[in-house]
Each structure stands twice: as C-alpha cells, then as structure tokens.
Point group: C2
Chain length 153, copies 2
DNA sequence: CAGTTAGTTCTGCAAATACAGAACCATATA
DNA sequence: TATATGGTTCTGTATTTGCAGAACTAACTG
C-alpha cells in the first residue's frame, strides 16, 4: 500500500497524540500506521520503509506493543514474514481499563485523608467529596457500557 | 509541619503516580506534599526543605503547576513569602477535562475512517463502533455529575 | 545606601531516552 | 554446506530531561 501525504500527516498527528500519553515517538507512529493501513495487517519491513526507521527500533517498538497487548501478529503459510495488526477488538476492555486508571487516584486521596489532621476541615471535606465521586464513578462504568449497547439500534 | 516517614512515603508514591501521567518527578512530589500538608498552604522554602531540592527546580515546577491551573499562591500581610496550595475546589472541572481528553481520540478515529478504503470492512466496523461509543460517552459526562449530586444524601 | 529576604533566570551537567548500525541468530532454500 | 531472508540483540551516540548552583532581580529593612 502506498501512503499519500494525507496518510503520512495523519500518522504523524496520531503519533504525537500518543507521545503526549507517555509513549515513545515511534510506538505512536506505528499505531498510526496500523490504523490507516487499509489491510490492517502490515509486515515488519513495510513499517521500516514507511516510517523510515531502523529495524532495531521497529523490533523494540513492536515488542513493546505486543507486551502491552495492543498489537498481535499473524503469519501466512509459505511466508516467513510477520504481519502486525492492532487489537481493535478489545477497545471496550482497553477503554474500561483507562477509566479505571483515572479513578486509581482515589486510593491516594483516601490515604491522604487518613494521614491528614483536622486543621483544615474545608480541604478535607473537598477531598472526601472527590473520593466519593470517584467511588461512584467506578461503580457507574459497567452500566455505561450497558446503556451504550441498549441505545444502539 | 514535620513530616513523618508515612507522609514522605505517601508523597513519593503520589509522585510516581503523576510521573506515569507524564509529569516531571518534582511536580508530582510537590502535588503530594501539598496534598498531605495539614495546613494545605505551604511556603516556597518549606517545599525546598521537605523535598530536598534546589530553589530553581521548585520555582520552575511551581510555575508549571500554576500555568496548568492546578495550584495557586496566597500572601499574608507583613509576610513576603508565598503560600502555595492546590486548587482542590476545581476537581469537577479537572475530572471532566480528563474524561474529555480520553475521548479526544475520537477525532483521530473519525479521520482514520475517512481515509480508509473498504478493503477491511470488519476493521472499519469496529472502529466505527468505537467512535460511536466515544460520542455516546462524551454526551453522558454531564449527566454523570448530575446523578452523583442526586445520590448524595 | 548596604544588607537581607524571597524568588527567578541562566548556565552547565549527569542521567535517561530513543534511535542507528552492526553483529548476530534462526530458519529456509539452493 | 553456503547463501538468503526475517527479525533480534548489542553497542554506541545524539538528543532531551531534570535538576543543581550561581548569578541575578525586586522589595523590604536597618
């Protein structure tokens, strides 16, 4: 598949988006490439060529993505190449995980509340309020997915 | 205020938590300190001393936190020191912002769908499904806060 | 005005990051 | 067995990060 300028530019932007999320640059670009690539399955050297990076960098980035469970490869009979693809199938789990990660701060808030004195009750009260909300939020996550399912025609 | 070992250890953990979110180490530690500090307001040199870092590092970190709107300082009559505090009051806005940041990936998904051919309809379909969910999710955010308010006694 | 206090900005550096290039390994093929 | 292919691992390095330390500024103080 030949990438147009539009493809390349979109891959770059998807790359920086993921960089901001803490991933290393190339990992973000690879996610971008796997997203825009029409077949969805991209060979190792197609990645090397399209992104103009070294084999070693691609190898490490793919190892990382596979370890994180965001990417898998398949092989084809009589073809030693590996074809890499995103695990888009798991978006529900991934999204749920991300939401729970955010709510993880509740643990810290609660520990903070244990440690704090009564010297600043207003502060404590707001923290308690936030913690309560985070607990509520976590409980609401499953029903969110259910409601989405229902409202789908 | 004198910090116990428990305080210090909690500050460290809050620090690494924020590091994982992309912040620089000291910024995370300062958030931790401002959280566990009983008065809630901490002077510049209390930060320097408690975290054993240089004035320049603290100055830069505080500038960053203020720019991000996560921290403010107040002064006291006849006292030239600045007392820094977290803006815990804004936790609703902040949390809402974080949720919307996650959902920001919808823009990219939609652009990807525009660019993609029909060669892999299954992939496209899953992406479309994800995008629809993100749209649904964004719409649900305000009602989430409302429901929290209602279920509070 | 000299000295002090509170904080900022500038300069430099040690450590971490992200990658290139080469050597390497494993499997397939001639 | 020699050679090619596909990918990994190792080594080195340019760049970036995160901070220290010193110089600096601004306001107050005697």
């Amino acid at each position: 598949m030949v990438l147009t300028e539009r493809h390349k530019e979109l891959i770059e932007r998807i790359g920086v988006f993921h960089e901001h999320k803490g991933m290393q640059p190339l990992v973000g670009r690879i996610i971008g490439l796997l997203l825009v690539h029409e077949e969805g399955e991209v060979s190792f050297d197609e990645i090397v060529e399209n992104l103009s990076v070294s084999k070693s960098a691609v190898s490490n980035a793919l190892t990382f993505l596979q370890a994180k469970g965001r990417c898998v490869y398949s092989t084809r009979p009589g073809d030693r190449k590996r074809y890499f693809a995103l695990k888009v199938s798991d978006w529900r789990e991934d999204f749920q995980q991300e939401l729970e990660n955010i709510a993880e701060i509740q643990k810290f808030i609660d520990e903070v509340l244990e440690v704090r004195t009564e010297k600043n009750p207003e502060f404590n009260c707001k923290m308690k309020d936030f913690s309560d909300f985070l607990g509520f939020f976590k409980k609401e996550i499953p029903s969110l997915f259910e409601r989405f399912k229902k409202q789908q025609v």
